[in-house]
C-alpha cells in the first residue's frame, strides 16, 4: 500500500484524544465565565458629570434614599432628582465649591445635569420599583452598599437568573417596611419572618411566568 501520510500523523489521534477534552472544558469555562453578566456588567461605574458622593450624602450624612429618589415608592422608576433638589441644601452649603459649578449652572439655566445611568434593564423587561418596595425588598438588596460608594457602581448582575433566584424564593430578601432604606440591614442574619409581620396584609407571590416581566 502506498504511503500517503507522513509518519508524524500517527500521533494525531493521540494528541486529539488528549487535547480535545482540555480544549472543550476550557472553552466551556471561558464562555461560562466571560459571557456572564456577573463578568460583563457587575462593576460598571461610568464617570458622572458631577463628582457627587453617595458615601458622603447617604453614608456620613445619613440622608434617606427617598429624599432624592422620591418616586420610588409610588412609581416604576426611582426618580433622578432635579437640580432644585440639590439646591435645597446647596443654596446654603458649599456655595463656592468648584466641584458644584455644574450644579449651579444647571440651576441658573434650567438645563438638567446629564447624569449617566448605571442600572439599565433591557426594554423587553418590565420592572416596577414600587411593587418591590411594597413587598419589602430593600434598596441594598439590588443596589449594594450605595452608602459606601463614592461613585455608584453596579453591584449585582441584573441578569434574568439573578431576578429569578429571588422570584423563586423571595423570603430571605424581605424585610420590614420601615427597614427598606436601611443600608445596614443584614439580609443573611436576621430573625424577621414576613408571614408573622402584622403590617403585611398579604403574602408575597412574585410571578415566575414569562409575561410577568416580558409583557
Amino acid at each position: 500500500m502506498a504511503v500517503i501520510f507522513p509518519k508524524w500523523t500517527n500521533r494525531v489521534p493521540m494528541v486529539l484524544a488528549a487535547g480535545m477534552p482540555v480544549v472543550t472544558v476550557a472553552l466551556i469555562f471561558l464562555i461560562w465565565y466571560t459571557w456572564s453578566p456577573r463578568y460583563t456588567d457587575v462593576g460598571y461605574q461610568p464617570e458622572q458629570p458631577v463628582p457627587f458622593s453617595h458615601a458622603l450624602h447617604a453614608g456620613n450624612l445619613g440622608m434617606d434614599c427617598r429624599y432624592c429618589h422620591n418616586t420610588v415608592e409610588q412609581g416604576p422608576h426611582a426618580a433622578i432628582p432635579p437640580t432644585s433638589t440639590c439646591m435645597n441644601c446647596h443654596a446654603q452649603v458649599q456655595t463656592e465649591s468648584p466641584r458644584l459649578e455644574t450644579v449651579r449652572q444647571s440651576a441658573e439655566t434650567g438645563e438638567p445635569i446629564p447624569w449617566v445611568r448605571v442600572h439599565l434593564l433591557p426594554d423587553y423587561a418590565y420592572f416596577d420599583h414600587s411593587v418591590h418596595l411594597a413587598a419589602g425588598v430593600g434598596c441594598s438588596s439590588c443596589h449594594g452598599r450605595v452608602d459606601r460608594m463614592v461613585e455608584v457602581r453596579q453591584a449585582e448582575p441584573l441578569s434574568m437568573r439573578w431576578c429569578l433566584d429571588c422570584h423563586r424564593d423571595p423570603e430571605p430578601n424581605l424585610r420590614p417596611h420601615d427597614q427598606i432604606t436601611n443600608m445596614d440591614w443584614d439580609v443573611a442574619n436576621n430573625d424577621y419572618n414576613p408571614s408573622e409581620d402584622p403590617h403585611r396584609t398579604r403574602d408575597v407571590n412574585p410571578p415566575q411566568h414569562c409575561s410577568g416581566c416580558h409583557r
Partner: protein, 476 residues
C-alpha cells in the same frame, strides 16, 4: 462469471432464487461499476440536475435571508392557522428520511440481503432529508439567532425548555436520529473510502479519502471490529426508525385539537414515513441506476421489493385514514366528527382527495407484477406517492387548524410566494447534496454488495446447475 440473466424478479422457492447481482459479479467488476461514476466525466444529465439544484439552493438562501430579516409574517400564516407550510415541510422531509434507516438497520438485522445495493444511497437520502427537515422548525422559531434555546443549555437566564412539550421531545428525537444516521452511514463507508483512496489518482483525493478511511487496510481484525460496530449501530438505529416519527406525531397528537388528538397517530405516522421514504428511494434510484449503468447491481428485483413495501405501507396508511373516520364517528364527539367531515367535504376537500388518490389508490397498482417491474410505472407512481404524502401533512396540519372551536376565528390559509420558494429551495439543498454524494462517494456499498455474491460464499463442491448456490446441510 458470465451469467446473463437480465430479469431476476422471477424466482421459484423450490429451485432457489435468481442471483441478486447480475452480469459481472466478480469483485473487481463490482468495484469498477460503482467507482466509474466518480472517475468518468460527469454525465450532462447530472450537471443539469446539479445546476437546477444550485439555483433552487440560491432561492432557499434568499428566502431564508428575507425571512430572518422580516420575520415569519412573510408566510401565509394567519390566526387559526399558526402552523403552515413550514411544519408541513418539516414532517414531509423527516418522513422521507425514514427509509434509509429502515433499509440499513432493520433489513440488516432481518438479514435481507437485497438491502446492500440500495442502502448507501438511501442512507445518504436520509441524512440530506433530515438536513432539509431541520431548516423548517429552525426558522419557524422566528428569532433564529436564539434557536439554541431549544436545547437544554445552562444559561444566565435560568431558562429551561419545557420538558412536558412534545416539541422539545422532537428536538431530541430528530437530532439523535440525525447523529446516529450519520455515524451509521460513515461506519459503512469506511471500507469503501479505503477502496477509493487506493483507486484515486490525484494527491488531494488520496489524502481526503485516506483521511476519512481512518487507515483502513482490510485486515482480519479491521473487519471483525467493523462488523461488530456495524451491528451495534444497526441495533441502535432500529428503535429510532419507530421513535422519531412517533414523536413527530406527538407534536400533533398531544395537543387537544380535534383532528390531531388521536391515539392512532404514532403508528400511522411511522407507516406513512416509511411509505414516503421508499417512494423517494424509487424516485432517486431509478434515474441513478440508468444514468450510471448500475442496472445489474440495483436490479428489477430491488425495485420490486421496494414496490412491495410501498404497497404494504400505503395500505396501512389507507387503513389509518379509514380508522380515523371510524373513531371520529364511533367516539361520538361532535367537534371531532365535524373536523373529519370538514376534512372530507369542507373547503380543503381538494387537498384531502388529492391525498387519498395519491396515497391509497396509487400504490394499489403494485398488486400487479407488471407494475412492480416496469421502471416507468414505478417512477410515476413514486412521484404520486411523494405528492400525496406532502398533502397528507398539509391536510393534517391545515384542515385541523383552520376551523377551531370558535367559528368567529375560522379562516382559510393562503400560501405566499415565500412559502413556495422556501419549500422549492429545500429541494435545491437536497439535490445539490445528493449530486455531490453521487460524484464523490460510492453510491453503492461496494464491500457489502460483494458479500452477497456467490464468490463471497465459497464451497468445496461445484455449484449446482439450476441456479441454486449449491447449499446442502453440512456441505462446508
Amino acid at each position: 462469471m458470465a451469467v446473463t440473466i437480465t430479469d431476476n424478479s422471477n424466482f421459484d422457492p423450490v429451485d432457489g432464487r435468481a442471483p441478486l447481482i447480475l452480469g459481472d459479479d466478480s469483485f473487481a467488476g463490482i468495484t469498477q461499476a460503482v467507482a466509474r461514476p466518480m472517475e468518468d466525466p460527469a454525465p450532462t444529465a447530472l450537471k443539469v440536475v446539479f445546476g437546477i439544484g444550485l439555483m433552487l439552493l440560491g432561492l432557499l438562501g434568499v428566502s431564508l435571508a428575507y425571512l430572518i430579516y422580516k420575520g415569519t409574517g412573510i408566510w401565509g400564516l394567519n390566526n387559526p392557522v399558526g402552523w403552515g407550510w413550514a411544519i408541513v415541510n418539516f414532517v414531509f422531509w423527516v418522513g422521507i428520511g425514514h427509509a434509509g434507516t429502515l433499509i440499513s438497520a432493520i433489513l440488516f438485522l432481518f438479514r435481507q440481503k437485497w438491502r446492500t445495493s440500495i442502502n448507501r444511497a438511501a442512507e445518504a437520502m436520509t441524512i440530506f432529508a433530515v438536513m432539509c427537515a431541520l431548516i423548517f422548525p429552525g426558522v419557524h422559531v422566528g428569532r433564529v439567532w436564539v434557536a439554541y434555546w431549544l436545547l437544554p443549555l445552562p444559561n444566565q437566564m435560568a431558562m429551561w425548555p419545557n420538558f412536558r412539550s412534545p416539541l422539545l421531545w422532537d428536538v431530541f428525537a430528530v437530532s439523535i436520529y440525525g447523529t446516529v444516521s450519520i455515524l451509521f452511514w460513515y461506519t459503512g463507508l469506511i471500507p469503501d473510502l479505503a477502496t477509493m483512496r487506493d483507486r484515486s489518482k490525484g494527491a488531494l483525493a488520496k489524502k481526503l479519502y485516506g483521511l476519512f478511511a481512518l487507515g483502513w487496510r482490510g485486515s482480519n481484525r479491521h473487519w471483525q471490529n467493523y462488523e461488530r460496530a456495524y451491528l451495534i449501530l444497526a441495533g441502535l438505529s432500529t428503535p429510532l426508525v419507530l421513535s422519531v416519527h412517533t414523536i413527530v406525531s406527538f407534536d400533533f397528537a398531544v395537543s387537544q385539537l380535534p383532528g390531531w388528538h388521536t391515539t392512532i397517530f404514532p403508528p400511522y405516522f411511522v407507516a406513512g414515513a416509511i411509505f414516503s421514504g421508499f417512494a423517494m428511494v424509487l424516485t432517486l434510484m431509478i434515474p441513478v441506476r440508468s444514468l450510471f449503468n448500475l442496472q445489474h447491481i440495483i436490479t428489477t428485483r430491488h425495485l420490486e421489493n421496494t414496490a412491495k413495501i410501498i404497497l404494504l405501507t400505503g395500505s396501512l396508511v389507507g387503513y389509518a385514514y379509514a380508522m380515523e373516520f371510524f373513531i371520529a364517528w364511533y367516539g361520538g364527539n361532535a367537534y371531532e366528527s365535524y373536523a373529519f367531515v370538514n376534512r372530507m367535504f369542507g373547503p380543503y376537500a381538494w387537498a384531502y382527495w388529492t391525498m387519498v388518490s395519491c396515497n391509497v389508490i396509487t400504490p394499489q397498482i403494485f398488486w400487479f407484477k407488471k407494475a412492480r417491474t416496469n421502471v416507468y410505472i414505478l417512477f410515476v407512481a413514486s412521484i404520486f406517492v411523494n405528492i400525496g404524502m406532502w398533502f397528507e401533512r398539509f391536510v393534517i396540519t391545515v384542515t385541523s387548524l383552520h376551523r377551531d372551536f370558535l367559528p368567529s376565528s375560522w379562516d382559510y390559509f393562503h400560501p405566499t410566494f415565500w412559502d413556495v420558494s422556501t419549500f422549492l429551495g429545500s429541494f435545491g439543498l437536497f439535490l445539490v447534496m445528493f449530486c455531490l454524494f453521487l460524484r464523490f462517494l460510492p453510491a453503492v456499498a461496494i464491500a457489502e454488495v460483494k458479500a452477497v455474491t456467490p464468490a463471497a460464499d465459497p464451497h468445496h463442491h461445484p455449484h449446482a446447475e439450476n441456479g441454486d448456490d449449491g447449499h446442502d446441510e453440512g456441505g462446508h
